[in-house]
Structures are given as C-alpha cells and as structure tokens.
C-alpha cells in the first residue's frame, strides 16, 4: 500500500527525516532522563536526620565508690580450755543462746596422781554459740578451743579500704549497704584503722548498722557497700551524647531552627549512663543523644517525638 504513493524521492526523504526524528526524540528523551536522574541525586535530596535530644540539667552529683564488705559480729568470743582434761558434759548445742556465766562444758583432769573436781567452763559473754569444738569425752590440752560465741544482734560491717581511697572514705557523706530484693540500708562510719595492713595494702574500716534495723544479715556474709561523696551541683547529660573528635569530647547542641552545632566540652566523672560535664554546657541547653544518621556540623534535623502508642506498648512488653 505504500507503493501507491507515486513520488519516490519525496517519500525517501520523508522516511529519512522521520527516522532521523525518531532517533532525535529517542536520544533527547534518553539524555533528558539521564540528566533528570543525575540532578535529583546531585541535589542533596536526602531526608533530614531525626534526633533524640536530652535537656542539659544541673543537678546534685555525687561520687560513688563500691566496696565489698563482710558482716561480722561486734562480739566474737572464743572459749578455750583453762586446763587439760576430758570433757565430761556439754550443756548446750550449736545455736543456743547463752547468758554470761552460763556453764558451757565441764572438764575433768585425768591426772592419775590426783583426783580433781570437774572444772566448769562458762560463757564469757552473752550471745549465741556458733561453733562447738568438743563433745563429751573429748580430751583437751590447756588452751584448746572449746566453743565460739557471737552476738548476732550486735552486727558490724568491715570494709577494707585501699590506702589511696582513705581520704574519700573520710569525706564520705553517706554509706549505703546494697541489698538484693530489700531496701538499701544507710550505715554509719564507726572506726577506721590508723594503719595500713602491710600484706593487703588496705586499712580496715568498721561500719555500724542503724539502730533497731530489721536487716537479716548473718555474720560472715559478704555484702556490697556504696560510699557516696559529698553532694555537689554539677551539669550532667546522657553519656551517649558525648562524641569524640580527634580524641576530644564534643557534644552536638540542638539549637534554634533545628540546627545541630558541634561543641567542645570537658568531661568529669560518670555514673551509669550519666556523665558530668565540667565545662562547656549550661543549664537548659539541648544535646543530641541519638540520631538516625551521621549529622555534620550545622545541619538541619528533625526532632524525634516518641509516639504515645508505641511508648505504652514497649513499656508493657517486658512483662510478657
């Protein structure tokens, strides 16, 4: 049907132009699309980072040091045999409460030359028997251990403090006994040994439990003690907000217009996830704790608002 057109030359040119035009259209379309994709990526079409910020707060900050301690009784009496002989009778069992002067055991000297009357060994203090080293029939030399008494109602805690820490313990304003599943107890400092043990490099510190404390502690038990330094006003922020640049601590300040600025700070002590800032921040400033991506200096960001629904759910979830 094309053959019906009777002007060959014209048609050839036409075809040629048409073909040319198709190539043109194709080519320009392709170029256009390529240039389009390039411009859209070149432009900083990246989405803004979302940030979670923390308010800089001035609050009381206290230095904390942990120590292991051992619970001991104020009264720890050991009873020894006054003379050699055989135990004829034991009057009490382990755990029995005894009054001062109560007979514990009687000992009869076995000297074949003489007949002695039995010697009564009595409790030197009131307390409870926690160790009984003899049974009736045990033969003893003078000075052998017979029994140990303690007073479980009069307890104290001993902490070994390294010489380097002694000053801090002296200054301590609060001493706390940390307990699992119970409320922590506040202790008071009673005595500090004036000399450092040559073997361990520590000096013994004796801590008193509060009066009428119902704490169920057993003598000999190991406990954790927290010594708190005197309270002082300090600026603290979330530890995750500290970013190191060239080894120097910085924070990213969230400023007006949702712009983030890098700012150098001086870091003091840290406790848990909180860090004390010695220099560089003031009350009320906002620092970036987390962000969805890297933020360069002066970049604009979006503030993260935790959705209420998710909040409720995530709080509930660990219970599941």
């Amino acid at each position: 049907m094309f053959l019906q057109i009777d002007c060959k030359g014209h048609y050839v040119r036409c075809l040629w132009v048409r073909k040319y035009r198709i190539t043109l259209v194709f080519g320009s379309l392709a170029l256009f699309s390529v240039s389009c994709t390039k411009s859209s990526t070149n432009e900083d079409g990246k989405t803004k980072a979302t940030v979670f910020v923390d308010q800089v707060k001035s609050s009381t900050f206290r230095e904390e040091i942990l120590y292991p301690g051992r619970v001991l009784s104020e009264v720890m009496a050991s009873v020894k045999a006054p003379s050699a002989g055989r135990v004829t009778r034991v009057y009490h069992h382990v755990g029995d409460a005894v009054q001062r002067g109560t007979p514990l055991v009687s000992i009869k000297n076995l000297d074949p030359g003489f007949v002695y009357s039995a010697v009564m060994v009595r409790a030197p203090v009131s307390g409870r028997i926690w160790q009984l080293a003899v049974t009736s029939g045990t033969e003893l030399n003078a000075g052998d251990k017979v029994a140990s008494l303690i007073d479980p109602d009069k307890l104290e805690i001993r902490v070994e403090v390294p010489a380097s820490d002694l000053e801090k313990v002296e200054e301590a304003s609060d001493i706390i006994l940390l307990r699992e599943n119970h409320e922590n107890l506040s202790l008071s400092k009673a005595h500090v040994s004036p000399m450092v043990d040559l073997q361990t490099g520590t000096s013994t510190c004796v801590l008193k439990l509060p009066e009428n404390s119902e704490a169920k502690l057993l003598p000999g038990q190991l406990v954790s003690i927290k010594i708190l330094g005197p309270p002082r006003q300090a600026i603290t922020i979330n530890g995750d907000a500290i970013k190191y640049r060239r080894g120097i601590p910085h924070v990213q300040l969230f400023e007006e217009g949702s712009v983030v600025k890098l700012h150098e700070v001086k870091v003091g002590l840290n406790r848990g996830d909180k860090v004390e800032i010695l220099e560089g921040l003031v009350d009320g400033q906002k620092v970036v704790v987390r962000s969805t991506k890297y933020i360069s200096d002066g970049e604009e960001v979006v503030l993260y608002v935790e959705p209420e629904v998710i909040k409720a759910k995530t709080e509930k979830s660990p219970a599941r």
Binding site: T50, T292, D297
Partner: protein
C-alpha cells in the same frame, strides 16, 4: 561420501532420532542451578592472641602462617589472596582461593597447615585455634512444622528422631537444623558472693557438672556358666539430683549446687531464637548449603526427605515450606527456557516470512532443536548444568543456528531452479551434493570463525571465565553442531522432498513490504553513490556516531559484573537500640509484622519472622507478584522510617549462589608513620568524608575504631606476698571476671529424667553495670575481703590498633560506599573526594608547622587513591583485550579469504558499526556495561562481519565479470539484501525476548540481549548503506589504476 549419506535417508533419520532422544534423555539429567557451578572457596583460621599485642603476634607467629597459607598450591587449588586481621582480642586469617576451587579440599589443606602451626603456639592459644569456611552464601531453606493438637515440644520429640539422621546425609548441606523454639535448657546462675565467701571458683561448678556425666563400668563377674556385668549407676539421674550435685571448694569441702547457684530448667529466652510463620510460633527446619554446594539440589533432597517421612507422623502434624530456593531457581530457569523457546519461535517466524512454505521452514527450523539437543549431550559430558548463563547461550545460538541451514537450502533451491531438467533421483542427488559441496567450506569456516571469537575468553581471569564460560561453551556446542546438521540432515530432507514434490520454490509472504524497502534502499544507495557531498556527509555522520558511541556513551555506562535477579522476597532487618530483652524485641517485630500484613494484604502472601537477639530481628516477606517489588519496597521505606532508636532496612532478597565481589566505591591507602598514626588519620578522614557529605558510609580496614580495654595492672609488690599466702587469689582466678558480663557459657548436654538438656552457666546480667564496678570485685585474702582495686590499678585504656595484611603486605585503608541510589555518580564523587582529601591533608600539613594542637604527625603520612573496583575493572579490561584478540583473529581469517588489506578494512567496517549499535542501544535502554554486554559485543564482532563479507564477495565477483563499480554495488546490494535481512533478523528477533528482560532471571542476560540485538540491527543497516559505497570507490580506484 556425502552422496552415500544422502542416498540412505533412513540411516540419517535413525541416527538423528537416536541423537535427539539421547539429547532429550540427558537434558533431564542435567543438573539445574541458577548460576554456573563456579565456586570460590574461602577458609578462615581464627586464633585468640592471648595477651599479645597485634604487632607482637604478627611478627612472632602471624608472618609465618601467612606465608605458609600463601604458598598453598596444588593441582586444583590456587590461592587468590590471604588477608589477615590482627586485633587485640582476635586474629583471623582469611584465605580466598581462585574460582573453581573445591571447598572441601581447600579446608583440608588449610587445616593441615593450621595444625602444624598450632604446635608452635603456647598451649592457651592453641586451644583457641579454629578453622572454618567463610560462609558467603546467603540462600537457605526453611520449613515450619506445626500441629493443632500437640505442643511444640511433643511435635519435636516425634519428628526429630525420624528426620535428623536423614538430614545428616544430604551431601550439599553444610548444616541442617531442626530448631525447637521451646526447647528446655538448664541454666545455672552462680551466686558470686556465696562462691567467694566459700572459696569456690566458678570453674569448679563446671567441673562438677562434667563429672556428673561419668558412669563407671565394673567389668563382668562369672557365676559358673552365666556372667553378670557390674554396673555403678550415675549418681545424677533426675533434675532434683542435679540440684544437689556436690561442688568441691578449694579446702575440699563439698556444697550442693543449689546452695551455690540458682538452678533453673526451662527455655532460656536469652539463648533462644524465635520463629514465627504468619504469626504462629513453630518448629523450624533450617538448612544452609556448603559454599559451592548446589542449593537447589540440597532443597530438593531435604524436601524429599520430609515428604517421604510425612506418612510416619501423626496426621495432625503438618509442614509448610517457608523459603524454598529450589522453587525460585526452577522458576527462573523455566523462564529463561521459555525465552529460549520464544527465541527459536521468533527465528522460525522470520524464516516463515521470508520463505513462506511451511515445509521449507520446518526443514531449516529443525536445526534449532536438534543442535540444542546435541549441545545438551556435550554439556552433560562436560559436567555443565542448566543455568541462566548456559541457557542464555542457547537462546543466543538459536537465531544464529538457522543461518547455516538457510544458506544450504538457498543454494539447493538455486541449483534446482537452474536445472529444471533434473528429474531422476540420481541427477537430483548429484545436484544436491554439488550444492552442498559449494557451500560447505565457507559454511564450516564461517561457523568456526564465529566460534573462534570465544577462544580468547579462555585467557581471561578466572572470574570472567567462571561466569561466562558456560555461555561460551553453550554457544560453541550448539552452534558448532549447526554446521553439521546443515550439511547432513538438511540436504537429506531436501532431497526426499524433491522426490515427492517438485514445487519447492520460495514464496515470500512479505513480498510487498520487502519490495518497498528494496526500492527505497536502492534509491538512497544510488544517491549516496552518485552525490559526492552526500557521501561525505554520510561518512562524517558515521564517524561522528562512532565517536559519540565509543567516546561518550560507552564510558558513561554504569559498570556491573552481572545483573541482579528479580526476586519475590523482601527482607526487613529491624534493629532496636532500646530493647533490652528478647521478648521486647519479639513484640516490636510482631507489631511491624502485623502492620505490614494488615496494610498490604493484596501484595504479601505470607511472612516469616526470626528474632535473632534482644536487639535485632529479621522479617521476610513473600510477595504475591514480583512486579510489585519496587512499589512495595518504596512504600515500606516510607512507612517505616528510622527513629533514633529503631532502624529498618528493607531490601530484596534472593537465594542466589554466585558470590560476586562487592568492592567499595572509594579507597584510600595510608602510608608512613606508625600504625596508630595511620589509624588516627583514617579516623579523621572518615569524619571529614561524612562532614562534607561525600560518603556517609566510610570505614577503616583495619577498623578505625579503637575499643576501650579495661586494664587490670597488678600491684606487683602486694600481689606476690598475697598469692604466696592465699591460694584463692591468683591472676588465673580473675579470668572468671570476664564471664560475668559475657553471654551464657555452654557446658555440656546432660541426660536427666530421660531427656537431653543443654546446660549453660550464666552470671547475673546486672552484676557489673559499669567498668568501675570491677574495682569493687571482692577478693578473699585470709580473713579479709578486699576490693580488687586494692591489688590492681583499674583503668580504661585504648586498645592497641589493629593490623591488617593483604598478601603479606601491611596495609591501612579507608573504604567508603555510596547508597545504592547514588551509585550512578560514584565516579564523580570519587574525583570530588580525592580532591577534597588532598586539600585537607595539605592544609593539615601546613597547620602542623604553624603549631596546631593535633597529635597526628601529618607530614609523615601520605595518602594514595587506588582504583577501588579492581576486580570489575580487571574483568572488563581483560574482556576488552579478549575482544581485540578476537578482532585480530577475524582479521587474519578475512585476510586469508580476500588477500587485500583494503577489502579487509571494508569488511571489518561492520565491527565499529556493531559497537556503535551496541553502545547506543545500551545507553538508550539504560543498561550496563557488564561482563555480559562485553561478551555480546565480542559475539557481535563475529556475526556482523558476515553481512559485509557477503556484499564484498559478491561485488568482487561482479567486478571481475566486468561490471562497473556503481553497478556492482547496486546489483550486489539488491541480490544480497534478502539473505542479509533474513539471517540478521533471525538473530535480532531471537534475542528480543532476552533484550526485553521478560520474567525473572532474564535481567541477568538483558545487557547481552540489548547489545547483540541493538548492535546487530544497527550494524546491518549501516553495513547495507556504507559497505557497497566504500567498496565501490575502492573498486573504481583500482580500475583507474589498472587503466593507467
């Protein structure tokens, strides 16, 4: 010889049928996989350096092992590279072998070396030495088992004994695990303070548990005829016994375990991984293939085992296939196989349009399936498999294969038409034989030359060969056969047809449009021949096109090794900074899963969720339709935006097997000064790149992060006196400290109440919340309890910097990558980054002199910018070399044929035309410069010269007969137009389905299809117009010279 063959058609048919049937039978036996069976073994040796610094370990031990590993060289194993990373905590040696190396053998070899190396290490390090295969495979098979009536534990007890032993026999599987999500474990949580006050070390609990497993045999006692064996039963048989397990203290006293530790039985959420299928918790079978293993075969084996065992389970136990890579692979292969069929059909369709008569079409078309079946036979014996690449080769060959038959048939037609008097069988036989003899030599040589083009491929790198070897082999096998089919089978059929029916003339169906095209073509050709100005414009236009194509378009194409495959799986990785507990992570993921299922019920078929630990989980989404991938991906990315606490990463996932290199986009090598200075510079540059928004993802190799280390420095003077007096305090006993914060430690599996329990020791999680707490760790010295701080200086220090060596050379690098969407501008970005870093370092060097506070000695450091994508660049440049070599080979062959340099050049003109076409079509269709497209160009070289050979040859013949140059050009063009159109269009149309990239899997071959069909199409057109004109001018000049 030929006459003999043609005169006994039955023999030919029987032989053809036998070969065909063999081909069909073997084609079913050919293993199917997604990619060629090319594996790249990678083995890692790991060791714990104890207290040695990275530098010390490297110089004392690492050096030796590295050089030993580098020296591995057996018949089938070649080491490609050895990388070693020395860290304060861990040292690893990664040995990568070249493509095609066997993983099992590689591991054996490395293990032998590692064993010898281990004997030189101190005992404590020796125990930590470990050799494993680096798993680069991402594919896996997942099945879920569930029952409405039974609990997961009951179901597990029923199916585990049946399935697990069978799974161990699956050859391609590295690991098949039947994971029981509610399996019970025994967790022992020691009470640390109690242990300490009793002088018991944590290690003693472990020993006690291990001892409880012992049972003693007492031999046998004979009582007359009968003998009785004496058995001392295990003391611990039930859970209650276990709780009372005696643990010895240092002083020899025994304490029951329950007094020293919390002993619990039940699922341990901290250890578990949780699986859910569309919301139901279930038992999971998880299988991953060995590196280089056939994932499809593995999946099929496992599914067969499950299917076969199913009847032996109670009816209520059901299973569901969650992730089946074999299905995906089957689909992809089916798709490409369909494309091969479509290619064949289109080629036949073109023939039909040109030849018209169905009989004749079939005679020529029989070539296609037959040479394919013959190729299957060879593929079977060469141990190849059916994969995207080899099938692509067959699709490519389909269009080319008919050419030989067409040539033979044409010649037979011509002879029959010229000799209408030949009526007897004998005469015809002679005629047909003559017709075949005339063309057999050019036929075989042109087939050979188009195959020879692939020869230089063998010289390319292992990577190129591994990926493209199958394509080349498939083409060679099937195309190589086509010449023989054309010479033997086609004439036999032809001869028989002649005997039955003499009317075998062509009946062109598209006569009218063809005539139309012919007249326009000749008219335009004439104008070019006559008008000098137009000729000049035409030449100029072609040169310009070539310049644009090769100089502008080709370099601007994005590079890629191999295209990605479409998938119907999406994965979403959820990472939460906030959640502390496993259950919390589970509920976060649950919520995401619910939201997605609710919002996209029409797009998502089902989901599969896996919670890995308390902070990360994986959600896999199976799409209903592949086509929805991109829209769903986009809307998911919009729906789940990162928050400062939870991040979501969504990407398509496919269970492919080929691990191609994944190089960074930017590379900086740092030299000079000390290792810590180099690392410090890398760290600064990482900041600089991020700050200037050049690369968001930048990292150091070795890592630029220097971890904090808790240093416990013994106060030696005190320590000596104490350790003499007290046995409970020693450096060794402090190793227990590290366990306090680490994860649960597996001890053993123990049989209690006739059930197997895994036993773990785990310290309380919150025991040490802060590094400072270490200082308060209690040590018992005699009567006193002293804090660890008294004996040690506790401080947090920076670790020693890590070291990285590459093939024995110490290197420090910065690597950076762009987001996927920014990849098109990676080259510009790299130039920008190089300029910026150079400026930055120079200004720092100047700053140093003016007394800045920086501690990094910038002036001693230097940076270089090596090419990052070396492997891809090497592969493509090697392919380019291969292309040039193949061009040289074609030139040689042509020179022998024509014996004249000018004619050789005219014929070779078709090649730049092909390259113009390929670069334009790749550019217009937004395709890649990949291994495939370069291979397409190589192939193009071979095919496109055929057209110009036909024209030049014919014109030479005419000019020898005394025809004028212009007349010869026009006549040759007219006479050769149809054969050229026919052979080119069969190939072009045959490649069309692949060029359009229909169906999954096809995307891999798309660049090849585009390059070949676009290139050949344009090459054909340009050849038709240019070659006659050029050659005419050569002839006329030659004639003029002859006259003079």
């Amino acid at each position: 010889m030929l006459e003999k063959i043609y005169s006994s058609p039955l023999r030919v048919y029987v032989a053809t049928a036998i070969i065909g049937l063999l081909g069909i039978a073997l084609s079913f036996k050919l293993p199917v996989s997604l990619f060629p069976d090319a594996s790249k073994a990678a083995i890692t040796v790991g060791v714990d350096p104890g207290s040695m610094t990275p530098e010390m370990f490297e110089s004392t031990y690492g050096n030796t092992l590295e050089s030993q590993l580098r020296a591995i060289n057996t018949k089938s194993l070649k080491v490609e590279k050895v990388e070693a990373t020395y860290d304060t905590r861990h040292v690893s040696f990664d040995v990568s072998f070249e493509w095609g190396s066997d993983g099992d053998e590689a591991k054996k070899e490395v293990q032998t070396i590692a064993n010898a190396f281990a004997s030189t290490l101190p005992a404590d390090m020796r125990d930590t030495l470990w050799v494993w295969r680096s798993q680069s495979n991402t594919g896996f098979l997942a099945l879920s088992f569930f029952s409405e009536k039974r609990t997961a534990v009951e179901t597990y007890d029923l199916i585990e004994p049946v399935l697990q032993p069978k799974f161990s026999q699956v050859p391609d599987a590295e690991r098949v695990v039947l994971y029981n999500p509610s399996s019970e474990q025994i967790t022992v949580t020691p009470k640390l303070l109690t242990l300490l006050s009793l002088g018991i070390q944590a290690e003693a609990i472990k020993t006690a548990i291990l001892d409880s497993k012992k049972s003693y045999g007492g031999g046998t006692v004979k009582f007359g005829e009968s003998s009785i064996s004496v058995v001392v039963p295990r003391a611990v048989n039930g859970f209650e016994d276990f709780k009372q397990l005696p643990v010895k203290s240092a002083s020899g006293k025994s304490f029951p375990l329950a007094q020293l530790a919390k002993v619990e039985k039940g699922p341990n959420p901290e250890l578990g991984r949780s699986f859910k299928t569309s919301g139901f918790s279930s038992l999971i079978i998880f299988a991953s293939p060995k590196p280089g293993g056939n994932i499809k075969r593995m999946s099929e084996d496992i599914l067969a085992i499950v299917k076969e065992s199913q009847p032996s389970f109670p009816e209520d136990i059901q299973y569901k296939i969650l992730v089946d890579p074999s299905e995906f692979i089957r689909d992809s292969i089916k798709n490409v196989a369909f494309e091969v069929g479509l290619a064949a059909f289109l080629a036949v369709f073109v023939l039909f349009l040109f030849i018209g008569r169905l009989q004749n079409v079939i005679t020529a078309a029989i070539e296609i399936p037959l040479s394919m079946l013959l190729a299957f036979i060879l593929m079977y014996f060469f141990g190849m498999n059916l994969n995207l690449i080899s099938l692509g080769g067959l699709a490519l060959a389909a269009g080319m294969n008919v050419d030989a038959s067409v040539v033979v048939m044409e010649n037979i037609f011509r002879h029959v038409a010229e000799n209408p008097s030949a009526k007897s069988f004998k005469q015809r036989l002679a005629l047909v034989t003559l017709a075949v003899r005339e063309v057999q030599v050019p036929l075989i040589s042109s087939t050979l030359s188009s195959l020879l083009v692939f020869a230089p491929l063998a010289a390319t790198s292992a990577l190129t060969y591994a990926v493209l070897g199958d394509l080349a082999k498939a083409i060679i096998f099937s195309h190589g056969f086509s010449a023989f089919v054309a010479i033997i089978l086609v004439p036999t059929i032809r001869l028989q047809m002649l005997s039955r029916n003499s009317d075998v003339k062509e009946r062109v169906l598209i006569q009218k449009p063809l005539d139309f095209f012919e007249t326009r073509y000749l008219a335009f050709l004439k104008r070019i021949l006559v008008t000098k100005a137009l000729r000049r414009v035409w030449y100029f236009g072609i040169v310009a096109l070539f310049a644009v194509g090769v100089g502008v378009l080709l370099p601007s194409l994005p590079k890629q090794l191999l295209g990605e495959i479409d998938s119907d799986w999406l994965t979403m990785r959820i990472h939460s900074q906030k959640s502390k507990y496993f259950k919390e992570m589970e509920s976060i993921s649950d919520e995401v899963e619910n939201d997605i299922l609710k919002k996209y019920p029409d797009q998502i078929a089902y989901t599969f969720m896996q919670v890995d630990n308390e902070s990360s989980s994986r959600l896999m989404l199976r799409l209903k339709k592949k086509s929805q991938m991109n829209t769903l991906l986009e809307s998911l990315e919009k729906d789940f935006e990162d928050t400062p606490f939870v991040s979501y990463r969504v990407h398509p996932w496919n269970p492919s097997e080929l691990s191609l290199p994944n190089p960074p986009h930017f590379l900086v090598e740092v030299n000079g000064a000390t290792q810590s200075d180099r690392i410090a510079l890398v760290r600064e540059m990482v900041f600089e790149l991020r700050e200037k928004r050049l690369y968001d993802r930048a990292w150091g190799q070795p890592s630029e992060h220097i971890a904090d280390a808790l240093q416990l420095k013994p106060r030696q003077e005190l320590f000596d006196s104490i350790s003499m007096n007290s046995s409970s305090v020693s450096v060794a006993s402090l190793s227990g400290l590290s366990h306090m914060i680490s994860s649960p430690q597996y001890v053993t599996s123990i049989d209690l109440d006739k059930k197997d329990y895994m036993t773990y020791i785990q310290f309380e999680k919150d025991l040490v919340k802060h590094p400072d707490d270490f200082g308060a760790f209690p040590l018992v010295v005699g009567e006193k309890v002293i804090p660890l701080r008294a004996l040690f200086d506790v401080s947090i220090v920076k670790d020693d910097p890590s070291i990285w060596t590459f093939n024995g050379r110490l290197k420090t690098e910065l690597r950076a990558k762009l987001d996927k969407k920014d990849e098109p501008i990676k080259r510009e970005r790299r130039v920008e980054a190089i300029a910026h870093l150079n400026d930055w370092l120079n200004s720092k060097k100047l700053g140093r002199e003016t007394g800045s506070e920086d501690t990094i000695p910038y002036s001693k450091l230097s940076i270089e910018f090596p090419e990052p994508e070396v492997e891809l660049k090497d592969a493509i440049s090697q392919l380019t070399t291969a292309t040039l070599l193949s061009l040289l080979m074609i030139a040689c062959i042509l020179f022998f044929q024509f014996g004249s340099l000018s004619e050789l050049l005219v014929v070779m003109m078709a090649i730049p035309f092909g390259i113009i076409g390929a670069s334009f079509s790749l550019f217009v269709f937004g395709s890649y410069l990949s291994l495939n497209s370069v291979l397409g160009i190589i192939l193009l070289n071979g095919i496109s010269v055929a057209n110009s050979i036909l024209l030049v040859d014919f014109m030479n013949r005419l000019s020898r007969e005394g025809v004028s140059a212009e007349e010869a050009a026009l006549t040759a063009s007219r006479k050769r137009l149809r054969p050229i159109l026919m052979t080119s269009l069969t190939t072009v149309l045959g490649m069309m389905p692949i060029a359009f990239g229909l169906g999954q899997g096809a995307k891999v071959l798309q660049p090849l299809g585009i390059a070949v069909s676009g290139g050949l199409g344009l090459s054909m057109l340009l050849t038709l117009f240019t070659v006659p004109v050029l050659h005419a001018s050569i002839i006329s000049r030659r004639l003029k010279r002859a006259k003079i």
